[in-house]
């Protein structure tokens, strides 16, 4: 994995993006959302930001074992 496809800017070097946080499962407690991780080997849902590009906040679903990006979209999915 060395590039991400920004929904606004297209494929860009990974260096342009900043990983922020792994997202908790739906219904996780507040404690769990802050301190615990599901740590699935093949599926990770994360918040990234295209900091050196359009600065959009992105929701990225990746496979952390293979590096494949499964899904990438703007947080909330709407226009901005």
């Amino acid at each position: 994995m060395n590039r991400l496809v920004c929904p606004f800017c297209g494929a860009r070097e990974l260096e342009e993006f900043l990983f922020h946080k792994t997202l908790p499962e739906a219904g996780a407690s507040e404690y769990s959302a802050v301190y615990e991780r599901t740590n699935r080997l093949d599926d990770s849902l994360e918040h990234w930001q295209h900091v050196h590009g359009c600065r959009a906040w992105l929701e990225v679903r990746r496979n952390p074992s293979s590096g494949d990006v499964l899904e990438i979209r703007m947080i909330g999915g709407g226009r901005n």
């Binding site: 946080k21 404690y31 802050v34 301190y35 740590n39 952390p64």
Partner: protein
Amino acid sequence: MSAASPRYSAWSLLRARLAGEGFWQPLWSGARLKDGYDVVVVGAGGHGLATAYHLARDHGIKRVAVLEKRLVGYGNVGRNTTIVRSNYLLPENHYFYEDSLRRWERLSRDLNYNVMYSPRGVLDLALSDGEMIGLARRGNAMRLAGIDAELLDRPGVMKFAPELAAAGPRRFDIVGGLLQPRGGTVRHDAVAWGYARAASALGVDIIEDCEVQGVRTAAGVATGVETTRGFVGAGRIVFAVAGHTGAVGRMLGLNLPVETHLLQAMVTEPIKPLIGSVLIYVPPHGEVYVTQSDRGGVVMGGFLDGFPSYTREGQWYRLEDVVGAAVALLPQIASLRILRHWAGTNDMTMDGSFIIDRLRHDNVFLNGGWCYGGFKAIPASGAACATFVATGTAPDLIRAHNLGRFASGHLLDERGGGPFPVRQ
């Protein structure tokens, strides 16, 4: 089994010379997997092997197995920058790492195996007055605990590490540094081999190519592990699989306060002796630690790639960051070629400190969450974890490093970075 590898001494080396190749035997025997053990340790890295060694040596538990998915020392014990030090700020951490450093000092004798402990000094550098204040605070905390720490001014730094003085004018000049003279390096592979040999001599079964895939339970107690070679019964189970601790959580249906990140290291072609100590610089102007190996290669490491990954494929931009910071410190090395670079999977916890605690069941133990601090911790971790497993009570050295600290608020946040694994 102890016949596998004879005791080493000057006399045995002489005999080896006379006997030719026939003298050298495998360091640990090809043990056959039994149906059950008193303790099954999962992971034949530094922590797993050290735990097994101390269980057998200190607590007389003879039926111990170490199960390894791949090979002895395949994981992080062979993927680090070999630095050992105890220059931590928080008492819970510096007392533990100091215990470890004292064990490193005598480990070659204890294991009867030369782990090449080299107390060449660990020097943390400051490029601003603010950083000097931070180093002074850390040094004072260490000295209060009886740990060696010397605050050096600029001339002191240049006297101790003249290779830095040769660098010429700098954009950010060196203001001073914090020196731990007893810190240094240890030959990492020798640590894995030495512990494996010593544990094997005490009757521990080291089983390679045996992946643990699940834990079998009955009436709320773990009864053994499911492996690729079938079920293995266990009175107690220890997981020492740092880098993949999250997967252990999955196995037991738990979300754990760890996240797996990649950390890279790299080594250049060998050159004549240049760097006489361990040089460390931490942010804001980059992050790098540089040593020179006994073979002459300049070994460098830096900070995390920046996102969760199990791939062991380091990102090019981070390699550039680390090398750039190293060249800023030592412009002399700018023309060297990098021979190898590699990435290891790190368990990053929510406070940057490790976890040794029970995991879900009374007889299942977790030794993990080592962040950047795994290699240097091996001797103390093995001894403390073995005591915990054998007696059922966590020794004082690791009592604060429990799993419950995240819920109770007693975090051991060395850097003060908040609950973000990527920022530890």
